[in-house]
Symmetry: C2
Subunit: 272 residues, 2 copies
């Protein structure tokens, strides 16, 4: 099978485009096929069994597209479905949890790490597990932040109300003494400026999108799947429902060239 | 077919329980079967064709449960799918849009009505259409409020940040001179106190849940579908995904006796 096949990137919606942005920057020669399940977004408040079922359906569609590897650019899906996907998929899979945990353990000095994410991600305990496998004595503070994604999708990235919400969510973590904060949702890098303002210089931010892109690069090298140098990369975006206004927010904030968006019916994937 | 069959109530999630509360208060002898599509919630940001498809699937499941009438307790679904549902379903259907529009036209003095709702509801223009059918010369101001549902689901019903969001959303409508505001989303009655505080006494609030319940009562009387007096009513709740924390918010705020919640797989409805 050819190394010029695309990298498949899957997210519950459009937040995973932050991972695409990091991949495009790091691996400009690679083709990317992005699949967002906008017909059923968000996953973050749904049960583990439902998130796992949706994730299996979506990654099956990516395999049908002929991708050479799959990136689960969604913390909720990575947290809940990755073990099953690793067992069942015919191509290698990279999630966002492990790369984020590794980066956090490398960044912390006081060994006290904070994690913010959706209800599904935090409830899964996946970050705690990944962190404790790397350092069993690490201190961890977590916080579900269900309002951050809606604020981002509203496009209020630089807004006094967004700053107030962030302060409300992060204040307990800062009080508990974390020196490193994992952005455990691929939407959150769009708030990186507001989050940095709220935390100041004392707390390091771990951006799961960028660390995930680095993990993909390492995987492609390890499996000898890098596209031949000199080929030109690109991005194709498919969604399970028509794009809503947030697509423009992501496009503008990330300076991504998204082009035409294709529709995929989640119950009847494209024939292959 | 027996009049003791339940009333079927459908919503994208759990917001429609405000309609259930109004129905229980108004029609205490009636049995209610509530079906919430929590596996795909919310509908408010999704496309018209997707919302219509989901609505058809969910109401088919209610018909299979043997309901005598169906209440579309979701503004997004009412706005987009009601004409199709009225044509295809074998039982009478009541939505929330028309009752809300009628109550608003009855309430306004200056004939300037405001409407707040999700993106799908506002974009559909369904309230404008219903209002203009009642009074072609009415002035209408609309505003999408995509953050209100997430705030309600976070349980922040009495909160300074919620008040600020409400002020942000409503300020243009007040400035434009509306004297009546339609709560075009079945979640919003849970914010009635905060909304009243923000608007003062000059703007009347039209609660689509209560008006919908009145419309159901009229329909049952017209079609001679009222349950025999002396029978005891009740509520059965089924969801397409396990209930999340918002179920407790709704239960506590509405003082509803919800009891055991049943799961329904949206792709494989219960056999009948």
């Amino acid at each position: 099978m050819s190394n010029s096949r695309p990298i498949g990137v899957f997210d519950s919606g459009i937040g995973g485009l932050t991972v695409v942005k990091a991949l495009r920057d790091l691996l400009p020669n690679e083709k990317i096929f992005y699949l967002g399940d906008t017909a059923r977004v968000p996953y973050g408040g749904k049960s583990a069994s439902t998130v796992e079922r949706y994730s299996l359906e979506m990654t099956d569609m990516l395999v049908d597209e002929g991708v050479k590897t799959i990136v689960i650019a969604c913390n909720s899906a990575s947290a809940v479905a990755l073990p099953k996907l690793e067992k069942t998929l015919s191509v290698p899979v990279v999630g966002v949890i492990k790369p984020g945990a590794q980066a956090a353990v490398a960044a912390t000095h006081n060994r006290h790490i904070g994690i913010i994410g959706t209800r599904a991600t935090i409830k899964s305990g996946a970050y705690e597990k990944a962190l404790r496998e790397l350092d069993p004595k690490i201190d961890i503070s977590t916080r579900t932040c269900p309002l951050l994604v809606p604020f981002i999708e509203e496009g209020w990235l630089e807004d006094d109300l967004t700053d107030q919400i962030i302060a409300r969510y992060l204040e307990p973590l800062v009080r508990e003494g974390v020196d490193t904060l994992v952005l455990g949702c691929t939407h959150y890098p769009l708030l990186i400026d507001a989050l940095s303002r709220a935390l100041g210089e004392k707390v390091k931010l771990v951006d799961s999108a960028r660390n995930c892109a680095t993990a993909v690069q390492e995987l492609l090298d390890r499996e000898q799947l890098r596209t031949p140098s000199g080929t030109s990369g690109g991005l194709e975006v498919a969604l399970t429902d028509l794009p809503d206004s947030f697509l423009h927010v992501a496009r503008d904030a990330l300076h991504l060239d998204i082009g035409e968006v294709h529709l995929r019916d989640v119950l009847h994937p494209a024939p292959h």
